[in-house]
């Protein structure tokens, strides 16, 4: 099952206008959008698909507060779609949609889509850092900070995180039926998983919760580097959005993070610089807690300058 990564996430919401504004402010590009929603793309074309909650074309919602309606994976070739259809068709309904994609469900009830997808190749550089001991990554006289640069854009849909009522069952489904690999694991919480055709540390992370919480905890797009995570997050704060966690840097995956509340009723994250893994990697396991979740954490504050008025004299 050569699934290459996330292609799109589909949400059904009450207020399309608020969610559309949020996705645009987050940095996605609206494509074919209107009052009933539409497609909001990262730079490589991976996307959030927005629709009204009562849109009849959407798979049915989970019986919880979750607004996530479908997770669509990209595959490189049509033969992979046939293989997925054959595999999942052994014990569940699989539908071919008019757009050529497949639709089915996982063992927990999350709707899944699969389509042949060719994300646009990106030709941007990653964030370049000069450091003693290595040859310069930026040419001489090239600046690291451009205060006139437009806001950084999310590049590619990175990962989705599910709350699941039976994490062992869920992990077994993605491993045994769809060929995902577990890269790391939080004990009694859940696995970080990547599909076989993707080297990112995770495109899927699952968290064991009570059934009434089942749904999407967050989704994330990759940014070009830590500076872009901080700049984009800073801009979200300035636009009045509520920071939830971050900025900081995770340990499992090594990705920089910054999470925000959203009108989707889940968190929306920026990440950057995630580890890549292959078959040589041996999964780690740790207890999930503050020390194992982040190597450091900061919180935004208003911009400030140290040389304000002189300090009052102290005795």
């Amino acid at each position: 099952m050569n699934i290459v990564g996330l292609d799109a996430l589909v949400f059904g919401v009450d207020d399309v206008a608020d969610c559309a504004r949020y996705l645009i402010d987050y940095g996605l590009t609206p494509v074919d959008t209107g009052p009933d929603g539409g497609r909001f793309e990262g730079l490589d074309g991976t996307a959030i698909l927005l629709a009204r909650r009562d849109d009849p074309s959407l798979p049915p919602p989970l019986p919880t507060a979750s607004t996530l309606r479908k997770t669509i994976y990209g595959v490189a070739e049509a033969a992979t779609l046939d293989a997925i259809a054959a595999e999942l068709g052994r014990d569940r309904a699989v539908r071919w949609l008019a757009d050529g994609s497949l639709e089915s469900v996982d063992d927990l009830g999350f709707a899944l889509g699969f389509r042949v997808s060719t994300p646009r190749p990106l030709t941007f550089a990653a964030e370049a850092a000069n450091a003693p001991g290595v040859s310069a990554q930026r040419p001489v006289n090239a600046l690291g900070v451009d205060t006139n640069a437009p806001p950084p854009k999310p590049r590619s849909l990175s990962h989705v995180v599910y709350f699941v009522p039976d994490v062992a069952k869920a992990e077994a489904f993605y491993a045994d039926r769809l060929g995902f690999v577990t890269t790391d694991r939080f004990t009694k919480v859940g696995p970080f998983m990547r599909p076989a055709g993707c080297r990112d540390h995770h495109t899927l992370f699952m968290i064991q919760t009570p059934p009434f919480l089942q749904g999407c905890e967050h989704f994330t797009f990759h940014m070009g580097g830590p500076t872009e995570v901080l700049a984009a997050g800073r801009r979200m704060v300035e636009l009045g959005y509520q920071s939830f966690w971050g900025p900081g840097r995770h340990i499992f995956g090594s990705n920089w993070f910054w999470y925000f509340n959203s009108p989707f009723g889940c968190h929306v994250e920026y990440d950057a610089d995630m580890d890549h893994h292959d078959a040589d990697w041996v999964a780690r396991e740790a207890e999930a807690n503050a020390d194992s979740s982040q190597v450091f954490l900061f919180q935004a504050r208003e911009l400030w300058f140290p040389s304000g008025p002189p300090p009052a004299k102290t005795a």
């Binding site: 507060a65 709350f163 749904g215 009045g240 509520q242 509340n261 009723g265």
Partner: protein, 128 residues
């Protein structure tokens, strides 16, 4: 507001007519850098709750400044994980924290329309 509020004195929030007639507004009366509480006004009815979802300790609830209500204005929503709460009681009616409630705060409404919250109700030890 100049300086820190004095202990035991009620802390002013705003005038009632500065609240949206049917909506919510968050307040940071102690200058903690984020809204500690929010007030929901529906006509002449006011409710105040701590900005802290019972589902997740310390979780701020709005999705943007003052964004505490559902799009139809019928519920308080935690936009961290989608919990919905009854506006009058603060009880969770859907989502991640069944059986739990928002922490309500008493409001003082002066004759001139100024709204205040008792200083001790903002107890920093439990404030998010």
């Amino acid at each position: 507001m100049d300086g820190a509020p004095q202990a035991l004195h009620p802390v002013p929030l705003c005038r009632v007519d500065e609240l949206p007639p049917n909506g919510a507004r968050g307040f940071d009366p102690l200058g903690q850098g984020r809204d500690a509480l929010f007030v929901v006004r529906r006509g002449d009815t006011l409710r105040a709750y701590r900005n802290r979802c019972p589902h997740w300790p310390g979780a701020p609830m709005a999705w943007r400044k003052d964004g505490y209500l559902s799009p139809d204005g019928g519920h308080i929503v935690c936009y961290a994980h989608g919990a919905r709460f009854d506006i009058d009681t603060g009880d969770c009616v859907h989502g991640p924290c069944p059986g739990q409630s928002l922490q309500s705060l008493p409001l003082i409404r002066r004759a001139d329309g100024l709204l205040l919250v008792p200083r001790d109700a903002l107890d920093l030890r439990t404030a998010s």
